[in-house]
Every structure is written in structure tokens, then in C-alpha cells.
Symmetry: C2
Subunit: 415 residues, 2 copies
Amino acid sequence: MSEVINKTRAAGRAARVLAAASTDEKNRALESMAEALKAREESILAANSVDLKNFEDSPRFSPAFRDRLRLNGERIDAMAAGLRTLRDLPDPVGEFVAMRRLPNGMDVGQVRVPLGVIGMIYEARPNVTVDAAGLCLKAGSAVVLRGSSEAINSNLELASILGEASEEAGLPRGCVSLIEDTSRDAAIQLMRADRYVDVLIPRGGANLIATVVQNSSVPVIETGTGNCHTYVDSAADLEMAVRIAQNAKVDRPGVCNSMETLLVHRAVAKEFLPRIAEILERDGVELRGCPETRRILPGITLADESDWRTEYLDLILAVRVVADLTEALDHIDEYSTGHSEAIVTGDYARSRRFVDGVDAAAVYVNASTRFTDGHEFGLGAEIGISTQKLHARGPMGLRELTTTKYVIMGDGHTR
Amino acid sequence: MSEVINKTRAAGRAARVLAAASTDEKNRALESMAEALKAREESILAANSVDLKNFEDSPRFSPAFRDRLRLNGERIDAMAAGLRTLRDLPDPVGEFVAMRRLPNGMDVGQVRVPLGVIGMIYEARPNVTVDAAGLCLKAGSAVVLRGSSEAINSNLELASILGEASEEAGLPRGCVSLIEDTSRDAAIQLMRADRYVDVLIPRGGANLIATVVQNSSVPVIETGTGNCHTYVDSAADLEMAVRIAQNAKVDRPGVCNSMETLLVHRAVAKEFLPRIAEILERDGVELRGCPETRRILPGITLADESDWRTEYLDLILAVRVVADLTEALDHIDEYSTGHSEAIVTGDYARSRRFVDGVDAAAVYVNASTRFTDGHEFGLGAEIGISTQKLHARGPMGLRELTTTKYVIMGDGHTR
């Protein structure tokens, strides 16, 4: 039997035990995992240094990528702290989301229960291994992890430490497992394992996510691609608009909730664009503008169709002047990936039109798109940001990692 | 461009208009549809008689199938009444499911919004065309229907009447469309249209559903397959157990929430089995039993492995004697399709163990599995019964045909 089938089946057996575990048992396992990470810091760093050494020869080598792959004592502390945060969050499992008595005297309720087996396919960062394992365990599900080849030694060491720690705390080792085979074939097997895996969550670039969506027979929750817009309306407080646009672009340009295109109402373009351009250029942002933007900011590059579609994840910003809110909505409708979209306006009716008219996971009035985040929204933890419409939309915390079942209590009721 | 791409794109445009429609506008369209069905009864019956005539030569011909295909005045009245029921149900769209102020003064809420474009792939019954169109419209989504070839003339006539009626009421005609091409190729195109279709709901037999799950890149909500069990515990009120088992098997054997396997605790098997066998045999039910059941009921057929796995949808029942609750739970865990499972017991602890231990959409104590139904659970309408864990589990009504989006209102907030 293949490694993937073996591990997903073992995860299924572990999931049945885990589903019946009490909150105390799960919390003890999270604490045991946190302690084990610190106790075995040396072996983790040794495995990570093998990955870093191999990585020097990788075609994907870049200093930024290397930095994401690298572990140190501080980062291991942060992983352990993350597990303890999960330990302290309320358990989503067992909550009755509804319960009522029908006219015939039968009680019908819905209780939150674990999903079962969760598959995660993700790219380089080894901290995802620990985050995902902790979140799934607290939500009562077993996790089967499939990281990228660059981090395989770090990931194997981490997953083995976490599996052993959950076993020491009395839960099955199969609660956390990692596919050793980093081939494309193994990934495809995981995507087709609908008999054993209840949901697959890809985390990574647009290509990874598209591959999973196209190939998976397991239900998928798409995460992350964010081609986010900020629209500065003619009725905007321009001082506020400058602050919001700057924050949305430069606070952390490499993440999915940062702004990629700025849309500016024609009536304020001449006043607003030079002000934001000065600030963004000081922050090292390259601007690419539509012809009308370039008449106001002659020094910048001309944006083409591909710029409107690109999630730069970098200090680059596309800028377009629009005639009005309708044109802004049309642009967003055409190019948005449905992640986070913002309007800056002082006009009540237009704020309502924007909120109603934009089809995205998060729609903002007078705030930066950077807030789309599980911690910022108060979920306590986050496994990713769903950009699809089924099951969960926007930041996903512990509750979004569960399902419900109907529970019906009768006294001999028949139809 | 292919018919499927054409119609799904047109549905996308219609969906944007429909998402902005008020409840009154949608209700007027539902009323207009109901009136049009009655006004054009003759043309519907004419189209249906073409289907019935063609069907005489179909390899799928059976009297039961023919009956499901057949329309008459009464059935058209029922369709129109169904649309008026939907008109009178509360609109799920626009409800704020949560809204709170964060410590930084920013308001974060989640509002219920339409899914967008819903694809339905279904088998023979033409009333599904009307039901699905009405449910999707009330939930604010456009629907692209793909029925089976046997009902193509009826379905085309119905879809065209519904599309015209929604246009007369001021909504786009593209709110309801039907794929004319009944080839497998066209169905596969619809399953791969993830760019235009937000969710696909298959309704029909196990083969249809498996094909959709295996081939779809559009997110799927699985519905319907129900290999449902009733476990009669040693602590059961046997009089109650007889009533529940009879109801679960014979009330409507052809539907997904009827019982397919009866599990009986060894301690009560000798008393219970002859009583239930007498009643079920009087109702025309064929029993197939495990060896121990056959020692008590010598006349019946021996059940084999395939019987435990089969959703008969017929007056056939598999019967197995089990040693205890644990063995019953193991059997259910192995063979259940996760639809509806019941225990009959007077024992408090065992009722809790069963509810916690069974992983299904609906878990019953002392009631018939026949209650798993949107109308019975008070949803007012039902598009199907989800047996998967993502998005919706169990009967799906209007609310389950929507998604949410985060709405964030700030005063210039930045991170």
C-alpha cells in the first residue's frame, strides 16, 4: 500500500479517538507538543540546517525564501507559544449551535463536531507544520501534512516530535503525520483520497492552489490569493485615504491582504495622486499607472492588462483613475480574486453601494485591507483565509475547522 | 463558444443583478413563475407527452421511473404551490449573522449573501427543475440546470417558462437556464466550469454523485446516498422499537432516509426479531439476515457483505444480530454513508454513547430516520440532504444556499 493511503487511513483511525477526546486531553497534548519542541530544539535545528544546505543548490533559491525556511531558537519559541495559545482557546467541539423542540415534541439540534481527517498541502515555511497540527488537533481532527521538498527534513523532524508528544499525552500518534514522499505523484494521491480525507486545505502560491482545485476529488477550501483593491472616492477624506493606502501597500507587501491596485476617482486624482505617490516612493514602492494616472505622475511606468491581474506580493502598485464608483465596481468585479476590497469615502450612500456591490470575503469602508486576519478579527488563531464561498469565507479559525451534525431526541416518534 | 460556457456566463451576469434584487422583487418573480406554470399547463403537458413517448424505447424503462417522469394538472399545481411556499418564506439574504465592535473601534460583521451561480445535475423528475429554480432564485443565486435526457422536453419547456416569467417580473431571464445538450461531455464541461459556477449540487443515484465528485473542479455538495441503520438496544422498549423500525422501513422505502439495515442486540433478538419480522412480512418486506438472525428466523435469505453495503431503496431489509452497542457502532462506522442513524434504547448512557459515537448528518434516539427532511426539521423547503461535512450537513434549505461576507466599517483604521 502506498505511503499516502497508509497514512491517511491511520489518520482516520486516530481521528475517531481524537473526536471522542475531552478538551482537557487535547489541551494536555498541545502542552506536551510545546514542551517537546523546546526539549528537542537541537535536533530540529540540525534537520533544518540540512534543508538549508540542500537549498543552496535549489532553483528556487532566493534570500527571502531562505529566510522563510530558516529556523532558530526564537522561531521555535514562537511555535511553542502558538501551541499554548491554542491550548488556551475555547474548544469549538461539542457546542450546540441550535436546539429546539418541534411541534410533535421531538428535539432537533445541531452540535459542532470535528471534520475528521484534514489534509494540508503547503509550501516552504516549517512553522506551518506546527500551526496546522495544533489547530487541527484542538478542533478534534487528525491532520495529514504534505510540505514542500525544500523543508522535508525540518518537517519530518517536527511532525515526528508532534506525533510522539501527542502519544505521550495519551492521544494516538496518527493525529499528526507527514507524507515523506515529496513527489507530485504523492500530492496527487492525497488529492484523490476522498475515501479517507474529509477536506484538503492548500496554502501557498496561486499555482499550488490551482493545481489542488483542478485535481482534487477531496473537498477543497481555497485559501489566500489576494488581488486586493482600495478605491479612493471623490468624497474621501484624502488625509485618511493616504494613511489607509500607505498602510495597505507597505505595512507587509508580501502577504495576501495587502493592496495591489489603487483606484482613484477622477475628481480627486490631481490632488490625491501626487500626495500618495510622494509617500509611497519614499517607501520604495514602484508605481505602474493607467494613461490618465501617467498624465498626473509622468515619471511612472505604464500599467498593462497583466498589471490589473497581478498579485505582486511586492513593493509594486498598479494605479488607475476611474470616472466614478460604478467604474471602480466594474474594475473590481473583473479583476478581484474575492479576498479584501476597500472604499475610502465620506459619502453614506456610496459606502452602502460598495458594501453591497463587491463580492469578496471582506469588504471595508474607511479601513485598511490589512485587517483581514484571524487574529485581527478576534478568532484567536487562523489556518488560512478562504477565498471561496462554500463552508467558510475569510479568515478561518478553530470553528471553521469543524462541521455539525443533527441530533434528534424523540420518545418513539414516527412519521 | 459552447452552450455550457455561454449559459454559465449568462448566469453569472444574471446573478449580479439578482444579488442586488430586493425580497419583494424576488417574491414577485416567484409569483409570476407560479402563474406562468398554470397558464402554460397545456404546453408543459405536450412536452411531457413527447418525453413519455420517447421513453417507451429507453433502456431505463420501468413503470416506477415512468411515473416519476409523468406530469399532470395536479403535479403542475403542486409545483406552483411549491413556488408560492418559497415566496412566503423569509429571505435568507442580508441577515447579519454576527456584528461586533473590536477593541480598536472598528465594526466587523458577517452578512449572508447569495452564492452566485449554482449548478444542478439531476435525474428524471421534472419537478426538480421547478423546485431548484425557485429555491435558488429566493436565495439570490442564478441556477444552471442539467437534467437527464429522458425529461429533456419537459425540462426545456419548464425552464423556458420560468426564465420568461422571471423576466416579466423584472429580473434577468438568465436567472434560470437549462443545458439542452444532454451528452456526458456537456455534463463534464459543467463540472469543470469553476471559473463561472460557484457550487454544483448533484441530485440522484450513487453513480451520478460519484461521477460528479470524481470529475468536478467546481466545489460540490454531495447529497442523498443513505445507507441508514436502526439499532435496537437490549434496553429498548420493544413495542417502540417495532413502531420505529416499521416506519423507517415501509413508510416510503424508495427515499434516502429510509432504513436499510436493522441491528439488534443479542439479548433481545429472540423476542424482538419474530415480532418485527411478522409485521414487515405483512408489509411485503424481504428480510436478509446474518447467520444468527437466520437461526431465529429460519425462513429468510442469508445476507452477505454486499447486503450491508447496499442502499436497497426498496422493500428489502438487511438484519444483523450484534453482541452489544460497541459492535453496532463498529458496523455503522464501517457501512454507513453518513446520512441518518438511529438507536432505540431506554438507557441514558448508551443514548449518549450512540449520539457521540456515530459520524452522520443526523443521529436519532428513539425516533425514525424518516424525519431527516428539510420540511420536517422546519427549514420550510429543501434542495437536498447533504451527506458531506463541508458547508452544510443534513437537510439544506434556503440558508444553506447562501454564503457570508465580512463587512468592516472603520474611521480611517490602519494596522
